[in-house]
Every structure is written in structure tokens, then in C-alpha cells.
């Protein structure tokens, strides 16, 4: 089949058109604020809330700023994976700051918002680290809580957006996740009590999605015999939920 024949076949897909009654109804519903929240079917009712943050648009330039995202993520990732602390400490100041940051970042594309989240979490990590070093009474708990909240933001946005990253960016994120795991070990060794929290579980979910994406991308490439054997091991690790080990193996495959 020639390219020309194929393009002619593709052009036939132009026959796919929506039902005109539905088109008219939908248009009316969009501009009717009283019913627009209720009249859509529930089949895809869990479309991500991240779209609410897509308002300012140099759309595309920001959404795909993956490389900056990955490097910012690396600093952030030292933060948290296991979750830090179960001590709840009310920090109105931080909540206000978070709310303020969210309201401003609501005007930014997704990737910029993630970068802001990383910057915030990184800042909170530094504050926590300092608090631990200084070991001043009453400073560690609030620092841990603020840090935990900042990571929650990262985990949430990362989970919502990881699927949209390209393969190269995913690999960079994988490197950063590995660094994070190493950083977590250091935190544990420093004596900091790290318990499983929702945020750590969210990050774990993001990691599993990352591994799956990378596996699928690698499956579509041409692999050497050795690489194919390694892929089998990687898939076994994935099935065993050893995402960290799977990531380490994936990074050894240079594709």
C-alpha cells in the first residue's frame, strides 16, 4: 500500500461525525450554568480535576516542560516517599500559604503548577532538615506536618499527570525516584520516624504507573536478546510490586 492510498483511507475517517442533536444539546448545556454540572452521563465521571488548573495558556509550552519538571522532582523527591510523621500539628499559616499558592497556581498550566509544588516541598524539606539538625523543641513536628502537606500536593499532581510525560522524561523521573528512595533511607538512618501515609501511597501509585509506562514503551522497541531477558525479569518484579527494583533494572536498558 502506498502512502497515498493510506492517506486516502485516512481521509475516509472524516465521515465520523457527532450526532447533530447531541451537538446542539451540548452547546446549550455548556452555557446553562444551572444544569451543566448534572446533565452529562456518568460513564467518564472521574475525569481528573487537574483540568481546573488549566486556565492560563501558553498551553503547550508549559504542559510539556518535562525536563524541568523531572529535575525539580529530583530535589523534591528527597522529601518523602515513606511519609513523614503522623503527628498532626495545626499550622494555619501553612494552610493559608498552600491555599494562596493553589489559587495563584490555578492560573498556571499543569507543569508549572507541579514545579511550584516541588519548590514548595523542597523548601519544606530544607526547613525540616534544619529543624532536625537544630533539634529545637516544638519545631520538628510543625516542620514535618508542613512537609507532609507539601508532598501531598506533589503526589496528587504527579499521579494526575505522570501519564502525559514522554518516555525520556519518565526515565529522568525514574532516576529521581531512585534518588528519593536513597534519600528516604538516609532519613530513616538519621532516626526520623517514617510511617506509611496516604501521600507515600500516592507516590507509590505514581511509581507503579511509571514502571508500567516504561515497560510498555520498551516493549515497543527493538531489544537485544539480553535486553529481552532483562525485560522478563523487570516484568516479574513489576508483578511482585517491586517497583523500585524494576525501575533500577529499566534504567540499565539504554533505549
Amino acid at each position: 500500500m502506498t502512502d497515498k492510498d493510506l492517506i486516502l483511507k485516512l481521509n475516509k475517517l472524516s465521515a465520523i461525525k457527532p450526532n447533530q442533536e447531541w451537538v446542539t444539546l451540548t452547546k446549550n448545556q455548556i452555557f446553562n450554568s444551572e444544569i451543566k454540572e448534572n446533565n452529562f452521563s456518568v460513564i467518564a465521571n472521574k475525569i481528573s480535576l487537574k483540568e481546573k488548573f488549566i486556565v492560563n495558556f501558553n498551553v503547550i509550552s508549559s504542559v510539556f516542560a518535562g525536563k524541568k519538571l523531572a529535575y525539580a522532582f529530583s530535589t523534591l523527591l528527597l522529601l518523602v516517599i515513606g511519609g513523614l510523621g503522623i503527628i498532626k500539628f495545626t499550622t494555619p499559616d501553612f494552610s493559608t500559604k498552600v491555599a494562596s499558592l493553589q489559587s495563584t497556581t490555578a492560573l498556571l498550566p499543569v507543569a508549572s503548577q507541579l514545579q511550584n509544588d516541588f519548590v514548595m516541598a523542597n523548601k519544606k524539606l530544607q526547613e525540616l532538615t534544619l529543624a532536625i539538625k537544630e533539634n529545637k523543641a516544638g519545631t520538628i513536628a510543625p516542620a514535618m506536618d508542613e512537609f507532609r502537606q507539601s508532598v501531598a500536593l506533589v503526589a496528587k499532581n504527579l499521579n494526575n499527570n505522570i501519564s502525559t510525560q514522554n518516555t525520556q522524561d519518565l526515565k529522568e523521573i525514574a532516576v529521581n525516584i531512585k534518588k528519593l528512595k536513597d534519600g528516604r533511607k538516609e532519613l530513616v538512618l538519621s532516626g526520623l520516624a517514617i510511617n506509611e501515609t496516604k501521600e507515600s501511597k500516592d507516590l507509590d501509585t505514581a511509581e507503579s504507573i511509571l514502571v508500567q509506562r516504561l515497560i510498555n514503551d520498551l516493549d515497543k522497541t527493538t531489544l537485544t536478546e539480553d535486553q529481552q531477558k532483562k525485560m522478563l525479569e523487570i516484568k516479574d518484579l513489576y508483578e511482585a510490586k517491586e517497583y523500585g527494583l524494576a525501575l533500577e533494572e529499566i534504567l540499565t536498558i539504554n533505549n
Partner: protein, 172 residues
């Protein structure tokens, strides 16, 4: 009576509704799901446009991006906690004998549609945008945040991949 922004977005809606619907439909292969997702795309688009119309430089690219993400979210949510790659072949079968399916009787259309769904998402998007929606390479490059040269290469590879898929389907 529509205000100025509503009138503007109304025109955007008219211009892109068929394209966005077709873009989504080719990825989900179900009229009902495509309608649902497309509705939400334009609702979200309107919400954003209402708040900050001046900041949306390329309305088409903006809507396509929402549509792309919405499809990804749809599959992820359908799988719940299972990981589903958007690059996997779509297995959804719309078994209803609906009006849309009736309208598409041409065997070639079904064949090409199935082949497209077996491609990687980037290839799907590029092929749909360029050959169906008439977007030029620079526009696609902007939408995908990739260099123009990369998009040209991807377009060529996507077409080759599609040709191969069609061959596989015919043989199968």
C-alpha cells in the same frame, strides 16, 4: 442572550466540536463515551475561557490538550487501580447497534480505525491532527511541545506504523 465571551466560545465550539469528537471517538471507539468525554472537554474549555480567555493563545491546541488528557483519565479511571497504558490496543467494543455505527458501513473505515487504535498515542494524535483535522506540522509541534523536525519524523513513522498495522489486521 449570550454575552461577548459566550459568543466567542460559541464560535470556537462550532469550529472544533466535530474535530474534538472525532479525535476522542477514534480513541475510545464508543459513541456514548465519546459524547460524554467531548462534552466534558468543552465544558472545561468554557470554564477556562470564561476565566481567562486572553491567555488562551491557541484555542484548538488548548481543546485538543484537554481532550487528550481526558481520554487518558478515562482509561485510568476505568481500570481503577490497575495500570493501563494509553499505548495498549483499545479493547472496548461498543456492541450497541447505534446510529453512529450504522453511519459507518465502509469496511475500510473500520479497518483504518482499528489500526489507528493500535498505535502509540503520540502517533495516533499526530495522524489524526494532520490527516483528519488539517493541522500543519508547526501547529502540531506547538501542541505537542516538540521540535518541528521531530514531529515530521514522527509523522513519517506514524504513517509507517499505521501501514504495518493495517497489514497485520488484514493478515489476521
Amino acid at each position: 442572550m449570550l454575552n461577548n465571551k459566550q459568543e466567542q466560545f460559541s464560535r470556537v465550539y462550532d469550529q472544533y466540536i466535530e474535530k474534538i469528537y472525532r479525535f476522542v471517538y477514534l480513541k475510545v471507539s464508543s459513541e456514548e463515551v465519546a459524547q460524554d468525554i467531548t462534552s466534558k472537554v468543552f465544558l472545561k474549555g468554557w470554564e477556562a475561557y470564561e476565566k481567562s480567555a486572553d491567555n488562551i493563545e491557541n484555542k484548538g491546541a488548548f481543546l485538543y490538550q484537554i481532550a487528550r488528557n481526558s481520554v487518558i483519565d478515562f482509561y485510568r479511571d476505568r481500570a481503577k487501580n490497575l495500570v493501563v497504558s494509553t499505548d495498549l490496543s483499545l479493547q472496548i467494543a461498543d456492541k450497541k447497534d447505534n446510529l453512529h455505527e450504522k453511519a459507518i458501513q465502509n469496511f475500510d473505515i473500520e479497518l483504518v480505525k482499528s489500526a489507528i487504535q493500535n498505535l502509540k498515542q503520540d502517533y495516533q494524535d499526530i495522524i489524526i491532527w494532520h490527516y483528519l483535522d488539517g493541522l500543519e506540522v508547526p501547529e502540531i509541534a506547538l501542541a505537542m511541545q516538540k521540535p518541528t523536525g521531530t514531529v515530521r519524523v514522527m509523522l513519517h513513522r506514524g504513517l509507517s506504523a499505521l501501514k504495518k498495522e493495517l497489514g497485520n489486521i488484514r493478515e489476521g
